[in-house]
């Protein structure tokens, strides 16, 4: 039996909050293991901080999402949103499970190709696609989602030059009853810009209009908005068929499904109030079934959801650097992972759990990162047991956006490991070091003496 860990004593006034089902005590289970691998062992082998990805969770979540849709709609295709997490290993898991790729830059496009994705199964989104990127996408017969008219004109020009008819869709933005309405991307439906773009595509004769795309926003807490979006998109598709006799092959509803994280400012925890795949699937497929397509001609439904598929599979392991009292008297714990690595802590109150056993006594704690910056706060206030230097913390639901939006700032970016479905631990991104940076830098000759 291991020695019981020492906790320094604490005196505080008794606060009787809302009693739980079992009284006032709220026992929490320490996160000693991730997928049966001891956290301590992970840190020992790969250092701290450390990102951990669970393949098992990815596959389970993906199957859950797929099941929710395929038991409601006959033809569903997921396209892995690269920007959410484009670690090659992660992408390859999604591709193995049947996902296409959804990319928003030339860099991501290249990455998808290198991950073995057939050009025909790459969806090219985003407002910035260079002439070279577009040329490549046309040659590979990828699905190009046009964002603005200048891109449209460039495509007309390119398809003429190359003598290839690219397969395109337009991105449509619309009012789905949510605030803020995203209108930065694509063509607005209500003011007629979408039709303008469609007319131009069809009349150019240079492109094949294959589908329609929309992405109504991010972390959408109302499944009904997707129902509205699906209806509007389906109606537009039917109108296109009536006007041009073109049967669109797919409707791409984009992403934006909420994960289990709790948004900052949310009164209740995310898992309790955020819609799940079943809710989104019900809203979207009901709308499509009721939109006027016959059962036989229902278009392919493409989904680019990223966050909801990967968030739960990602963990951040961090180590306590030290504790202090703030001016208010409240406790602050400094850990070795900052907002430069956990970008999403600006958005969510991440669930945080110590990785070693603890007693039932806790205190509201502010968790700071190691940066010498005032904004480096992981959690403003979280009820945690007394932690001491060297203790480990596991931060949950960090799979989405962190491993792509992280910054090398003040500290180096840590390693990422993948726990395979079989339970083996695999390093999928090496820890950065000074050489990583130095290799990129050039010191002018006159300064290097």
């Amino acid at each position: 039996m291991s020695k019981k860990s020492y906790e320094r004593p604490l005196i505080r006034k008794l606060e009787t909050g809302m009693p739980g089902k079992f009284g006032l005590r709220n026992d929490l289970t320490p996160a000693t293991h991730i997928d049966n691998i001891p956290v301590a062992e992970l840190v020992e082998n790969f250092g701290s901080p450390l990102f951990v990805i669970s393949e098992q969770t990815i596959v389970q979540t993906f199957n859950k999402a797929k099941r929710a849709f395929t038991t409601r709609y006959p033809r569903v295709q997921f396209a892995w949103s690269y920007k959410t997490n484009y670690m090659d290993a992660v992408c390859r898991i999604f591709h193995r499970e049947g996902s296409w790729a959804e990319v928003v830059s030339g860099f991501e496009y290249e990455k998808a190709l290198r991950n073995g994705v057939d050009g025909k199964k790459i969806i090219f989104n985003g407002p910035e696609k260079s002439r070279e990127d577009l040329t490549k996408a046309i040659r590979n017969d990828s699905l190009i989602h046009i964002d603005h008219l200048d891109e449209l004109y460039e495509l007309v020009e390119l398809s003429g030059e190359l003598g290839i008819k690219p397969r395109v869709a337009i991105r449509v933005n619309m009012d789905t009853g949510i605030y803020p309405q995203w209108d930065r991307f694509g063509f607005n439906l209500e003011n007629g810009q979408a039709w303008d773009a469609i007319n131009k595509i069809v009349h150019s004769g240079k492109m094949e209009l294959t589908g329609l795309h929309c992405h109504i926003g991010t972390f959408i807490l109302s499944a009904g908005a997707y129902g509205i979006a699906a209806s509007k998109l389906a109606l537009l598709a039917i109108d296109i068929r009536n006007k041009f006799n073109i049967n669109l092959k797919y409707l791409d509803l984009g992403g934006g499904f909420a994960s289990r994280n709790t948004l900052k400012g949310s009164y209740l925890p995310g898992p309790d109030i955020n819609p799940g795949f079943e809710d989104y699937a019900e809203a979207i497929s009901s709308s499509l079934h009721n939109s006027g397509f016959s059962t036989e001609e229902l278009p392919l439904l493409i989904l680019e959801t990223g966050r909801a598929l990967i968030d739960e599979a990602g963990y951040m392991i961090s180590t306590v650097i030290g504790n202090k009292r703030l001016a208010s008297g409240s406790r602050s714990t400094i850990i070795d992972a900052g907002v430069n690595l956990l970008f999403t802590s600006f958005w969510y109150d991440h669930k945080v759990m110590p990785a070693q056993p603890f007693s039932l006594y806790r205190e509201e704690t502010l968790i700071c990162g190691p940066l010498c910056m005032n904004i480096d706060i992981i959690r403003n206030s979280v009820s945690l047991p007394m932690l001491k230097k060297g203790d480990r913390l596991v931060i949950f639901n960090t799979g989405a956006y962190n491993m792509t939006q992280w910054m090398q700032f003040i500290t180096m970016r840590p390693a990422i490991v993948l726990i395979s479905s079989e339970g083996t631990v695999n390093l999928i991104r090496r820890k950065e070091d000074n050489d990583t940076l130095a290799n990129q830098e050039v010191v002018p000759a006159y300064l290097s003496k």
């Binding site: 389970q60 038991t71 092959k249």
Partner: protein
């Protein structure tokens, strides 16, 4: 009209030969030739037979009876027997000729009469017209003084010498003195008696012809005869009946008719031949007693009575129908009947069944099957319960305390086939998990009427989720409601059953599903006309547009292929999609006249038959695209079998024929693999690989290998490797390329 006249000689020839072979239920012209030869052992009888057949066929033709029936010999084979019989009794004369012509006319009348009278009971008229006609002619002839009674058979040696001189006489004597075992010689003589002969040689020739026509019929003739032979010895009956009159053949004909022609040959049909022997004997003895009053012989009366009684009896069976299978589509050969039936038993069950789909989208698991352990019992045993399960087999997430934890809950429930909404119940509250409602045990329910007497029912639907109305027409796959937990349902699931009455609570009908995909740990298997078992994970076949359009052949459509073969100049082949008056569709090859019959169902294309040139491209296509499911599942394999007699399996076939009623050791297997799909958005660019193998015992012989390439809604090309030839055919729009080649 002129065109009609031109076909008359050929029609006459065909109908003549068929009339002879029809006596033994055959269509073999070789066999017919042997029988004509045998009939001329008595030249007058032989000539009379020909006169009778021609008279009967011409009469039928000018009266305007069905041409195909005339061609098949159906109206003339009775007249043939009358003619042969009459010819045996009289000397050749103009009077005999007239008698033959008009007795044939009478026989045609009787044939049509019996066709109408007993045909409506779906029974054949056999040789009843012959019996009546011949008895009448025999009775009448006693008063016809112009006819000379034949003296042949009295001064046999003189006649034989007259016909063929000393050599024939020597041969005749040799045969007569041939010491064959009693049983064997009686067998041959009984065979010859069918043609009113009573000699060894004709019998031997007929036996050879019979063996040539059908090995099974030959064995049946032996079985029929020898069971009679043994029975007569056992019972101590008058053995002369077999030996010295024309009635031993009753056993032989009955054996062929019951054992293999009207009934699929099997060990059961063989057993019945033995059981029927004593009955036939009773009929022979009694009818002989009876007819002796009129000085008439019983001829084939016992055969007619027993075969008709037995066939009639079989139609009243309520069970054990597969023990003695009646032949539905007559192919005029016990072998063909057997092989076709064996093949169609697995292939063409849908001719009788309505193809029901599954009432859901995606993959669901059978959590209670037929004769289930919970509620599918007794009168309600033929039902299925379906639930959605995850990869670990769990049907809910979380703790399963609320309905929304269950994957099945709130999922669309679909119409399993086209039909009218017959009945709806929609106001039953959903139970909390674990609770059941025994009072309204079916819960919210929809009944669809598909045909008269064929209904389907889905139960335990979510309250007020039903989105169809009573009386509405729904199509297969339309959404009906959502899966709920109402009625006797402790957790959300779909209860699905087929029933023959329109009520909620009706008992179930044991009915198979149409075609579906079974999922086994990431692998797919194609199922047709199966009843899924508990634990099976199923989904409907999701139709892929490009494949289904490629195999959607529209009558009138022309398919032109440019055929490339190594070492040969390219050729063009053109097929036309045609439909006959029975609504059978087929591809008709313009170059060879070959026909490949096919059926296109919602989710399946398959060929049913091929006739014509086996070296044609169409035959290669028939082998390659024998059965194609119109969906795409990677690595899915579809298997099927060809009927044995289609594939010409070589010398082993003869041995196989002999033992076929008991054991089939040759099989021709077809397999189709779904290899790849180039474009998953269009779902086109599909490669399928097929293989035809012949399995004899343990040896496997490759008959053909092929590949099909399906582009966007059409068969782009296919290649076949058969008999060492590799042919590649590419579909082209027209033959322009040919013209260009001609120019150069």
């Amino acid at each position: 009209m002129l065109k009609n006249l031109k076909t008359i000689p050929l029609d006459l020839y065909n109908s003549l030969l068929n009339s002879y072979s029809m006596v033994f239920f055959s269509r073999s012209h070789v066999f017919a030739g042997i029988m004509i030869l045998v009939s001329f052992f008595d030249p007058v009888a032989g000539l009379s037979g020909i006169v009778a057949v021609l008279s009967a066929n011409l009469a039928a033709y000018f009266i305007g009876l069905n041409r195909l029936n005339i061609l098949s010999g159906m109206y003339a084979f009775n007249a043939l027997l009358v003619g042969l019989g009459t010819g045996v009794y009289f000397q050749w004369s103009a009077e005999l000729f007239i008698l033959l012509v008009f007795s044939s006319l009478l026989t045609v009348f009787l044939s049509v009469f019996f066709e109408g009278m007993i045909g409506k009971y779906n029974l054949p008229f056999l040789t009843l017209p012959f019996l009546i006609s011949f008895w009448l002619v025999m009775l009448a002839a006693r008063r016809y003084t112009g006819l000379d009674i034949s003296e042949r058979g009295i001064f046999t040696y003189n006649e034989v010498y007259d016909w063929g001189g000393q050599p024939l006489l020597t041969a005749y004597n040799w045969f007569n003195e041939l010491r064959l075992p009693m049983g064997l010689s009686t067998y041959f003589k009984s065979l010859s008696a069918i043609f009113f002969q009573y000699h060894l040689l004709p019998g031997i020739l007929i036996a050879i012809g019979l063996m040539f026509y059908s090995r099974i019929a030959f064995i049946l003739s032996l079985l029929g005869f020898y069971s009679a032979y043994l029975y007569y010895q056992f019972i101590g009956a008058n053995f002369d009946e077999l030996n010295y009159s024309f009635i031993g053949f009753n056993f032989i004909l009955t054996a062929i008719a019951v054992g293999g022609y009207f009934i699929i040959p099997s060990k059961y049909s063989f057993l019945w031949i033995i059981f029927l022997t004593p009955v036939i004997s009773i009929l022979i003895s009694s009818s002989t007693e009876f007819l002796i009053t009129f000085q008439l012989s019983t001829y084939s009366l016992p055969f007619n009575i027993i075969v008709l009684l037995f066939l009639y009896l079989l139609r009243f069976r309520q069970g054990r129908k597969n023990k003695l299978d009646l032949v539905v589509f007559q192919e005029y050969s016990p072998e063909k009947n057997l092989y076709s039936q064996h093949n169609s038993r697995t292939r063409f069950r849908d001719f009788f069944y309505l193809p029901f789909g599954l009432p859901f989208l995606g993959e669901w698991q059978v959590t209670q099957g037929h004769r289930g352990e919970f509620t599918h019992k007794e009168d309600w045993q033929h039902a299925w319960d379906f639930e959605v399960a995850d990869e670990k087999g769990k049907t809910y997430s979380g703790d399963g305390n609320s309905l929304s934890d269950f994957y099945s809950y709130n999922k669309p429930v679909l119409a399993c086939a086209d039909g009218w909404i017959e009945e709806i119940a929609s106001q039953v509250e959903d139970n909390q998990p674990g609770d059941i409602n025994i009072r309204e045990n079916w819960g919210n329910t929809i009944i669809i009427k598909h045909l008269d007497g064929l209904y389907s029912k889905v139960s335990h639907l979510k309250k007020e989720s039903i989105c169809v109305e009573k009386g509405a027409w729904v199509k297969k796959g339309d959404k009906l409601a959502l899966c709920g937990n109402s009625g006797r349902s402790p957790k959300p699931h779909i209860h699905f059953q087929i029933q023959s009455t329109p009520y909620i609570g009706s008992t179930t009908l044991d009915y198979p599903l149409g075609r579906y995909i079974k999922h086994e740990s990431g692998r797919y298997s194609f199922q047709s006309w199966e009843k899924p078992q508990k634990g099976d994970i199923l989904s409907n076949i999701e139709k892929v547009g490009s494949i289904s359009r490629a195999f959607h052949f529209i009558p009138g459509q022309h398919l032109i292929f440019k055929v490339a073969e190594e070492g040969k100049a390219d050729t063009f082949q053109e097929w036309v999609v045609e439909t006959d008056i029975y609504n059978y569709t087929y591809l008709n090859c313009q170059e060879t006249g070959s026909k490949a019959y096919f059926r296109s169902e919602q989710d399946l294309h398959y060929f049913t038959a091929f006739s014509g040139d086996r070296s044609s491209l169409l035959y290669s296509f028939y082998l390659t695209a024998y059965k194609v499911a119109l969906g795409f599942y990677p690595n899915l394999q579809i298997k099927d079998e060809f009927p044995l007699h289609i594939m010409n399996p070589g010398p082993w076939k003869i041995l196989q024929d002999f033992v076929a009623p008991f054991y089939l050791f040759i099989r021709s297997e077809y397999s189709l693999d779904y290899i790849s799909m180039n474009d998953e958005l269009d779902r086109s660019g599909i490669t399928l690989r097929t293989k035809v193998e012949q399995l004899t015992m343990s040896s496997v012989k490759m008959i053909s290998e092929g590949e099909l390439f399906i582009g966007d809604g059409q068969i782009d090309s296919f290649s076949v490797n058969r008999k060492g030839r590799k042919i590649t055919a590419r579909q082209v729009k027209n033959r322009d390329e040919k013209i260009e080649e001609g120019k150069s």
